[in-house]
């Protein structure tokens, strides 16, 4: 009996050694974690930051500052701005296959979920009734200026996509949207 209890204790010890005590909610332990090897003293992109008042590392640019290479957009976010962009704003990029291909690539990431691969308003979100009333491009009076303006500021339910796309990327998308529109008609 004594022997049996001894063995069962041994058995339990062996079993417990085999159980990993990994906790999926916390990161695993690291070798020399506190010696600047794994985590250097610099702040990570989105980490908290004691230097700034709002303790955010990812700060917004200073108001009215202009990033290098960035051209400010002059048309205001209003009905007037929309009408004016529709009439006057022209694409600065050349119309070629390369821009068109890139436009297609970007359109299928940023636009087609709602507007549909063909631009007919039948995207996945539209078919699943998450978003309704997405127009077919052929039913809308749009010019390259107005398309750009809408990507920039959004219109009605569509939000601004300016933070997700660079200027030339927006123009590439505009080029592709115009192609889709012509194909729909």
């Amino acid at each position: 009996m004594k022997l049996l209890s001894k063995y069962s204790i041994l058995f339990l010890i062996a079993l417990s050694l085999l159980i990993s005590c990994k906790d999926k909610r916390n990161p695993n332990y690291q070798y020399m974690a506190n010696k600047d090897m794994y985590q250097s003293s610099g702040y990570e992109t989105y980490s908290k930051n004691p230097v700034f008042k709002d303790s955010i590392s990812a700060q917004k640019p200073v108001v009215h500052s202009i990033a290098r290479g960035k051209i400010p957009y002059e048309y205001p976010d209003s009905e007037l701005g929309y009408e004016s962009a529709k009439k006057n704003l022209k694409s600065p990029i050349v119309k070629d296959d390369k821009n068109l291909a890139q436009g297609k690539y970007l359109f299928e990431i940023y636009c087609s979920t709602c507007h549909g691969i063909k631009g007919d308003g039948q995207g996945v979100l539209s078919q699943r009734e998450k978003f309704l009333g997405i127009p077919n491009y052929k039913d809308r009076q749009i010019t390259e200026g107005s398309i750009y303006h809408v990507i920039m500021y959004g219109r009605n339910l569509m939000g601004s996509h300016a933070s997700q796309l660079r200027e030339n990327e927006r123009w590439q998308i505009v080029q592709y949207v115009e192609k889709l529109k012509s194909e729909l008609q």
């Binding site: 999926k24 332990y29 992109t45 998450k130 309704l132 009333g133």
Partner: protein
């Protein structure tokens, strides 16, 4: 006299015929087709209007009761003209909704507008296919999930019996009184009730006196119609996870048993060879375990922190097929693939303020709605009036980063996503199936190097490197060049 009467009869006939015609005509004109109306509503109005909530424009539920039909037709066809004509109601709406003019819809016929109105004014909800939604089913499902699901499933025993098609087995009045107070029924000596009580270990079912007759009927309707396929599939997945766990435990048990036997042999045998072999096996086993332990230090695959919002990639990227880069848009240009700023969330969630999709993992709609509300709380969105609160101090949502690379290794997203055309899921795994994101790959150096050794550089689509690639392919004497052959194994490429 006779002729007068005849004349009167004739006149009456004509009048009644006339009245009848008018009557049918007006009926025909006023009776809209809600199914067609829904189609038209979704195509033309829904970009700015919802039925229940304010969006860009006002909510349109029961708008036909609020405004005159003729006025509505005029307004929809050309609101600007109506405003200019000085109509008071029109001007008031224009002022209330920030002077954003409503698009004119001259393409809609009067009948179209009537169809739309018949849709907005109907009490019946219409589903995706334009057919009326089974409200009793939805309501019953909700009641079931809140009240019954703790102890019952449809298809199998839990604490209580399975409830699928329960109405085949029992009568409705019996079910009603049992649900309201099962104990009283058992006491009263109802045979069926007592039998169930005995069968289920004399565990009493909670009484539900708060449920109304209709709610109980809805629940029973739900149990009869059954669940949709998706939730059943989820159950199967859960069972697989259980199986995996059982298997692990069995393996552990066997290994522990073997080591116990080996120890007994060592302690009891006098045969030297057997003793030596047993010791050697134990030493080998221990070394194996020691090394596996050492090798997992600092490796975090499976890491699944609890995020501040229960954001489900399965719903967004799996069900709704939103591209990864829609939200993580800086992956194409930057070292970091960013956590989207809240304006990107709000691109959709301005209008999607409640969850209507499949309910996963036992969460209910209220839970998901609450999670969406967390975005609004962070960014200061006033749901009722559909606009941002003024002078609101926005709070950052403190997401917890899942994939952490040690700082002595350099990794650049743009290099992999844009130049290398590597798919997100190659490293991040099937995120579109994850309710909660966990780290998929080990992110060890061996794992990086393996991929660099086997991945071919696509030379056809990359004109920037075209000449270099040609020269390299010539030098190596192959058509295919891997990342490693291009220098992807040099220490300084990642450790600098």
């Amino acid at each position: 006299m006779r002729s007068v009467l005849k004349h009167n009869q004739q006149k009456r006939l004509v009048i009644s015929l006339f009245l009848f015609l008018i009557f049918t005509l007006t009926i025909k004109a006023q009776e809209g087709d809600p199914t067609k109306g829904k189609e038209l509503f979704n195509a033309n109005c829904a970009a700015c209007h919802q039925l229940e909530n304010r969006l860009v424009g006002p909510p349109l539920k029961k708008i036909g009761e609020k405004r005159d039909q003729k006025w509505l037709i005029k307004w929809i066809k050309d609101s600007q003209a109506l405003i200019n004509s000085g109509d008071k109601d029109a001007i008031a709406i224009f002022e209330e909704y920030n002077k954003i003019p409503m698009l004119a819809f001259p393409n809609l016929s009067d009948q179209d507008v009537i169809d739309i109105l018949s849709y907005t004014d109907t009490d019946q909800m219409l589903g995706a296919d334009g057919k009326p939604i089974d409200e009793a089913y939805l309501n019953g499902k909700k009641v079931f999930q809140v009240n019954c699901a703790a102890c019952h499933k449809l298809e199998k025993k839990l604490i209580g019996p399975p409830l699928g098609n329960i109405s085949d087995k029992r009568q409705m009045p019996w079910l009603k009184s049992f649900i309201k107070d099962s104990q009283a029924m058992i006491k009263s000596g109802d045979k069926d009730a007592v039998a169930i009580y005995e069968e289920y270990q004399k565990v009493l079912m909670l009484p539900f006196p708060q449920l109304t007759e209709k709610e109980i009927e809805d629940v029973i309707h739900y149990t009869t119609v059954g669940d949709n396929e998706e939730s059943i599939q989820l159950d199967a997945e859960m069972d697989n996870a259980d199986l995996e766990l059982y298997r692990k435990w069995i393996v552990r048990f066997v290994i522990a048993l073997i080591s116990l036997i080996l120890i007994i042999i060592i302690l009891s045998t006098k045969n030297l060879l057997l003793k030596f072999l047993s010791i050697a096996m134990i030493v080998l086993g221990l070394t194996y375990y020691a090394f596996s332990w050492l090798l997992q230090i600092g490796v975090d695959d499976g890491y699944q922190p609890i995020q501040p919002i229960a954001f489900s990639h399965k719903i967004h990227s799996g069900d709704n097929k939103i591209n990864c880069q829609y939200c993580h848009s800086s992956a194409k240009h930057s070292k970091t693939s960013e956590i989207p700023s809240v304006n990107v969330c709000m691109n959709c969630h301005k209008s999607i303020s409640e969850y209507k999709g499949i309910l996963y993992d036992g969460y209910d709609k209220a839970f998901y709605d609450g999670e969406i509300q967390k975005i609004y709380d962070a960014v200061g969105w006033d749901k009722a009036n559909a606009k941002y609160k003024e002078n609101f101090v926005q709070k950052p949502i403190q997401w917890i980063r899942v994939h952490n690379l040690a700082d002595f290794a350099y990794f650049n997203h743009a290099q992999h996503v844009t130049a290398g055309k590597v798919e997100c899921k190659t490293c991040h795994g099937p995120v579109e199936e994850m309710q909660e994101v966990s780290q998929f790959a080990p992110l060890t150096m061996g794992w990086c190097v393996d991929c660099h050794r086997t991945t071919e550089v696509s030379m056809a689509t990359n004109d920037y490197y075209e000449e270099i690639h040609k020269a390299l392919a010539k030098k190596l004497g192959t058509e295919k060049v891997t990342v490693a052959q291009m220098g992807g194994l040099e220490c300084g490429k990642c450790h600098h």
